[in-house]
Amino acid sequence: MRLLLVEDDLNLGKATAEGLKESFAVDWVTNAEDAEEALSTTGYDLVVLDINLPGASGLELLESERNAKNQIPVLLLTARDAVRHRIEGLNAGADDYLVKPFDLDELLARCAAITRRSQGQNLPRIEHRDLAYDLTSGHLSKDGETLQLSGKERAIFDCLIRNLDKPVSKEKIMASVYDWGSEDIESNTIEVHIAALRRKIGRETIKTIRGVGYTIPK
């Protein structure tokens, strides 16, 4: 899944982006204008938005996105914890609110919960045949045995299992797995990761649809 982080503090932005990369492909921008640009060109699953930004504030960005009927889930990140600020943020259309300094695990859990809800999936676990996948922790097991997946393998599996029984194009997989900073993007890297994934979870679980992409059938 692909996430846009909007945070102007360089230290916090860097640390948060690094922390979030555990579960998401993360793009990080430092102001509202860049965020708007990124949102209009890339399909994100979630925005983590700091309120206090240079220039237009996070709330203004959120309001303009909501006015433009953009339904993307937004988690507000702010140093202000007064109730009126929280109400302001939620009323402006935020899905959740976290006060700095936050716990990284809590941020990850909340991000997972928001994306789950936005996909109409309220259960934190998906069970498919002999596989059990935890949407929050990214923990995958087969017949009760934990599978060790690499970051990219997990991201690809996550993308496919969330779109269960629906074909997912190679471009979409690439968009949700690779962020701007990724260096190893080559046309055949997805195939390499899919092959490795198939070895671990079972060859028939992921089907190739020629000319379209991949799917995990029911």
């Binding site: 503090d9 916090l12 640390a15 140093a79 700095k100 300094p101 990284l104």
Partner: protein
């Protein structure tokens, strides 16, 4: 302190005293003039009577005839008549006199006007001497009839005054009351406001003379409001400036801890770092809470204390679990209180966090809220010696000398909030060991 003077009384005095003085002067001047005129009219009357009498008698005297005035006609008389008398002498012989002058006996008044007291009454005399014919005419009149007339004239002046002056004063008083109404209205309007209401006073229906006051008040309200919002902005700004670097440190530390993974040696140091960052963050939280509580409005509403306490307990549950502590929670449902929910939550959380912090691993914490609103937290920590129990509510005082945790602000903030809600905090020794914090909510 000197008693404030009343504008209404001042106005009443300044208007009514000149009116009363004017009325009094009118009365005095009226009396003087009336007296003067009455004197002149009555004296002229005396002279006139003497003249008539002289003319009546002169003719007879010239002829040397006997003098005879004849009998009085009893039908021709007036009430005042007995107050007027006459005597007539010819050649020093008293030839005629009116009945009421018999009492005068041998008394003879000097020529011209004079006053003499004869018997009980004062008389006014006019004596005319005609040396040629040796005639002496004396006309006398009771002096008190002049008083009577003057007093009647004065009465005619005073009587309307007695009726109208109080009436005028009442009208003035009502007028002043009406005139002062905008001022009393304004003071009532300001009085009725809540202490935090800083909205301007409507200028429309205010009298011209009062507009400078309302204008000044509105200016003052505006300035206070501005300084409040400046302080709020400052607190917000400080929150941002302090929390953001703390967040960066914390997140970076957590990322490093995840990367360090199983390498226990480096994780230990990072864990220590994270705990320090958490402590700094808590200190910032407490300072901000204190600043905000002191700057901000605390509108009171009905608070479900039971739910508020349950939320706070849920927040500390994880902390207590990691220390292996047992939380015994006994909260009576739907206990309500008039208060400010956010600050009550800060207070409850401060007490709960302290209990968890100071209770050793595996200890027990009892949280109880009874139906009558009594709230208590009993822990099995080290407790606080009696001598220090008063001091723990002071800012930056720390009962725990180990220097491990705590900002020294939590309890003073809690006390501040409790005071703002009329709540009583008492600290007691928990038996056999530990501290009991008891809060009594008086439900009014």
């Amino acid at each position: 302190m000197s008693k404030p003077y009343s504008l209404r009384r001042r106005l009443l005095l300044w208007i009514s005293i000149p009116i009363l003085i004017a009325a009094l002067l009118t009365l005095i001047i009226g009396f003087v003039f009336a007296w003067h005129e009455v004197d002149e009219v009555y004296d002229a009357q005396l002279v006139h009577s003497a003249k008539v009498m002289l003319q009546l008698t002169q003719h007879e005297i010239k002829k040397g005839q006997d003098f005879e005035l004849g009998l009085e006609n009893p039908n021709l008389s007036h009430e005042y008549e007995r107050n007027i008398g006459f005597r007539l002498w010819v050649n020093t012989n008293l030839v005629s006199q009116s009945p009421n002058t018999v009492d005068f006996k041998n008394f003879e008044a000097p020529p011209g006007f004079s006053n003499y007291k004869i018997g009980d009454h004062t008389w006014r005399f006019f004596v005319f001497l005609d040396p040629e014919n040796k005639i002496q005419i004396e006309i006398s009149e009771r002096y008190d009839i002049r008083y009577e007339l003057v007093f009647q004239i004065m009465g005619a002046l005073i009587l309307p005054g007695i009726i109208f002056i109080p009436l005028i004063l009442v009208i003035i008083w009502i007028g002043i009351r009406q005139g002062m109404k905008p001022i009393t209205d304004l003071s009532e309007q300001v009085d009725r406001r809540s202490s935090k209401d800083l909205s301007p006073i409507a200028q429309k229906q205010v009298a011209k003379e009062i507009q400078p006051i309302t204008h000044a008040l509105n200016e003052l309200f505006k300035r206070i409001e501005e300084s409040f919002s400046r302080e709020r902005e400052f607190t917000d700004h400080a929150a941002h400036e302090l929390r953001t670097p703390l967040a960066a440190m914390k997140t970076q530390t957590q990322v490093l801890r995840k990367k360090a993974g199983e390498k226990a040696s480096s994780d230990d140091g990072l864990q220590n770092l994270e705990a320090s960052i958490d402590r700094a963050a808590r200190l910032v939280d407490q300072l901000l809470a204190l600043a905000r509580l002191q700057n901000e409005d605390m509108p009171k509403a009905k608070v479900n204390l039971s739910e508020c306490l349950e939320d706070c307990v849920a927040d500390i549950q994880k902390m207590a679990q990691t220390k292996g502590q047992t939380l015994n929670v006994n909260i009576h449902d739907n206990v309500h209180l008039l208060g400010h929910e956010d600050s009550l939550a800060i207070m409850l959380k401060n007490f709960l966090e302290n209990a968890v912090k100071y209770t050793p691993e595996g200890g027990t914490i009892d949280v109880r809220l009874s139906s009558d609103g009594e709230f208590s937290i009993c822990d099995t920590g080290p407790g606080i010696p009696q001598a220090e129990q008063e001091k723990v509510f002071n800012k930056f005082y720390r009962a725990d000398k180990t220097g491990k945790t705590g900002s020294g602000l939590g309890l003073s903030i809690a006390k501040w909030i409790a005071d703002a809600h009329n709540l009583q905090i008492s600290l007691e020794d928990n038996q056999p060991k530990g501290l009991s914090v008891i809060l009594r909510f008086s439900e009014k």
